[in-house]
Subunit: 475 residues, 2 copies
């Protein structure tokens, strides 16, 4: 939403909104049946009070241009085009509602939207601050790319051979022995999950996951009829041994878990792997944060995988630049062939330019060099955030010292992390990732990130968070 | 498949193949249940006779390592891992077979695979020759990109604002008036179709299309339960007026159709648009070839779309570089918001680097300049191919003079374009796109492309095609 009413005009704000909405309908941008954003959201976007917005909406309702349905949702009425233009129009809203893929949760949509707003303090963003990205070095490295016409044509199904060769070498650092034939380049970890959902899993099958899970904040599996089943580590063994019917899979982040930051011990990994093998339950190992561990790690599950049981995911989004959109899947040949085949049908491969850049960085030592600097910067930021937490949150929350990555999983003593808190903070231009996007029933946690906001923003944001929470818990 | 048996060794070729297959199984790359490529395909890849391959396979079958099921397919047996290692293993093949997305047609998989082989003559490739890509100029332009940390972070849901601004301006050339809010950047036209399939259409709905259609060679719709319904232009009006039940859509390429190369007249466009509007049938207008027309075009459907009826697709894959993976969708606001929301869930946006490059080319006149050169090169190639066709095919086939783009839709007088011909040519290192990938029942057509192969390759390839066809039709 780019438009905002102009407070310097003599026309009332409500009237300006009426005009603007009518215009959206007339130029075909808001067709019949379009669902408007919630009034709370719309008022926020337009920068007006809800009463002003209500006035505008009431007027348009009286004219039959807008209408309300069950609940508080407002729609462009199915007669609006008829009233205004005397013509029929496709009902896109109906198309959207009956289609397959789930919409992002409203909270996630808001987060995606408000992350574009420069004036917002982002306390939870799972992304490196622009100041931590090696932008100048990447810019400089562009001059050293040796493009040829072949390389910038359509990609081979599994992606750039040079990049896969570089990855074979790079993955040895994690004790993973693989071949170029067992790697498929993808556009980031999320795309890998989409490809697994439609290329490996059966509708009705189950994706097992840890208690709090990144998967709950996205819909690659649910949209295609797979069930998510969260299990706590205490009941894990039991659930895995039950051998649920169908072709199921376990999704795990054993290293620097999102959102909790946890790292599995070597023993836990081995036990878990053996359990899954015995139960014939394959594993997706999401390992996009491993480069960012502050201390030495034990090898990943994939390193102990002799039976082709693990589909391993990596990416440069959390280390080099999310804008590259480059990740990789390592798996047995039929799985890789299948993923590559679907990838070719989905988008004909990832950006050749991005692949060239990543290859260059991996093969010239630039990547390794950058990771060292980056880790030390992140560690400084983690310490700073922990200092602030000790100062302001010791009485009301608990947390564990960060072991790497971006996150601190802040747990409040009381269940106060509600959508009300989320909106209250948003009004104060503070954006958080509440625990309930990782586990719908949760009201205790916030996923804090020290990777994005500046020290000053972290200070201001956390103090404001503490105040807002304290006001809320006052009797 | 990178491995080939070594003819200089004293071990027999069949034995080498036995060893190689056992190795694939032992290192977990070909797990239990893995379906092997067809024997024809495998023999071709390994560069051996089918009898040699058969010998190897028979030996492995005798040991219980491989097995055959119905038809001629060969599988890694479900006992293989047990026989070799005495351990259980996940059955990935079962996962693949019960999952949602359709596999690419075998012919398309082969085309994707053999397009990577430098020694193949590609008579049909829908891609610019590396020599026609402005590789050096792109390389040079990389130095002029002004990257900043924001730009190479996660993208906004609809993609780079600067690129969308450039597109608003660029689309005016085609008489399309739109706004940055009505554009979503995607990773090429094929991804747009995937997003439309899962974000707008209901399982069971129908995608109407022309008689021969690019859509038949890919599966974005069929994989999610939509039906394709091909209609000839003579029965079109009738079918549209029938108002099929459900939320359906019409997929059309009115300008430089793939595979036929046809261009709709202004009158045909207007009639078609009015018919669809009256029937409440929205339209996907795929317009990725329009820049490459040799003569002036009438405006697209989107330019006459006042009711928000048309979802318009464009791309730079056919003009600047397929490796960029950049395309765009222009549509009413709710459609764009929906597509952007799903895109964020699928891959978190397209490569920021690719978006920066396209923005730079669009805003600096580089793109327009390049298109002029490119068109004149393509026109030269089209004339050359037409000369060859007149020389060698006048007696056995007919075609229309190319109006632009890449293709000539060659129609043989007799139904000889079968999969047998496809394989016969492949053995001679010649790759064609047979008509049956655009219309399963077709046996008359080949989609020729003058965009990829060199003049010399076109000459050699077409003469070989003519000879192979003539041998075939001899009594």
């Amino acid at each position: 939403m780019n438009w905002k009413p102009d407070r310097t005009l003599s026309i009332s704000l409500a009237n300006q909104i009426v005009h603007w909405i009518t215009e959206q309908i007339l130029n075909g941008h808001w067709p019949n049946g379009t669902k408007l954003p919630s009034q709370r959201q719309l008022a926020l976007s337009l920068g007006v009070n809800r009463s002003t917005l209500q006035e505008a909406i009431d007027e348009l309702k009286a004219d039959g241009i807008l209408c309300s349905k069950i609940g508080s949702s407002t729609f462009v009425s199915n007669d609006s085009w008829n009233i205004l233009v005397k013509q029929k129009q496709p009902n896109w809203q109906k198309y959207i509602e009956t289609s397959i893929h789930k919409a992002n949760y409203q909270t996630i949509q808001l987060i995606n939207e408000f992350e574009q707003d420069e004036s917002i303090i982002r306390l939870s963003t799972g992304e490196l601050s622009p100041s931590l990205l090696p932008t100048e070095k990447i810019q400089h490295s562009l001059q050293h790319l040796k493009l040829d016409g072949k390389a910038i044509g359509y990609s081979s199904p599994q992606g750039s051979l040079a990049l896969r060769q570089a990855l074979v070498h790079y993955l040895k650092k994690r004790n993973i022995e693989t071949t170029v034939g067992n790697i498929c380049i993808v556009s980031g970890g999320l795309q890998a999950l989409q490809l697994i959902a439609v290329g490996l899993l059966e509708p009705g099958s189950t994706v097992l996951q840890e208690e709090y899970s990144y998967l709950n904040s996205v819909h690659p599996f649910q949209s295609y009829g797979m069930n998510l089943h969260s299990i706590s580590s205490s009941t894990e063994q039991m659930v895995i041994q039950k051998k649920l019917r169908g072709q199921n899979i376990y999704y795990a982040i054993p290293t620097l878990h999102n959102p909790t930051g946890a790292i599995w011990s070597q023993q836990r990994k081995e036990q878990f792997y053996e359990q899954c093998l015995a139960a014939n339950l394959p594993i997706i190992e999401d390992d996009v944060y491993f480069e960012l561990a502050f201390e030495k790690l034990s090898p990943p599950l994939k390193a102990i995988d002799s039976a082709g049981q693990v589909v391993y995911l990596g990416s440069v989004s959390k280390t080099l630049s999310p804008g590259l959109r480059i990740g990789w899947v390592v798996a047995p040949t039929p799985v890789i062939k299948r993923i590559a085949d679907i990838k070719m049908q989905m988008d004909y491969g990832s950006s050749a330019f991005s692949q060239e850049i990543v290859t260059h960085w991996l093969t010239n030592g630039l990547y390794e060099e950058h990771i060292i600097t980056l880790k030390s910067e992140l560690q400084k930021r983690a310490l700073y955030m922990e200092k602030l937490l000790i100062q302001h949150f010791s009485d009301i929350a608990s947390w564990e010292k960060s072991k790497g990555g971006f996150y601190i999983w802040l747990k409040f003593h009381h269940p106060i992390v509600t959508s009300e808190l989320f909106y209250k903070l948003l009004k104060q231009k503070i954006l958080i990732n509440p625990g309930y996007i990782y586990e719908p029933k949760d009201a205790f946690h916030i996923r804090l990130s020290y990777a994005y906001a500046s020290e000053e923003e972290l200070r201001v944001g956390l103090i404001c968070l503490q105040k807002t929470v304290s006001e809320k818990t006052k009797p």
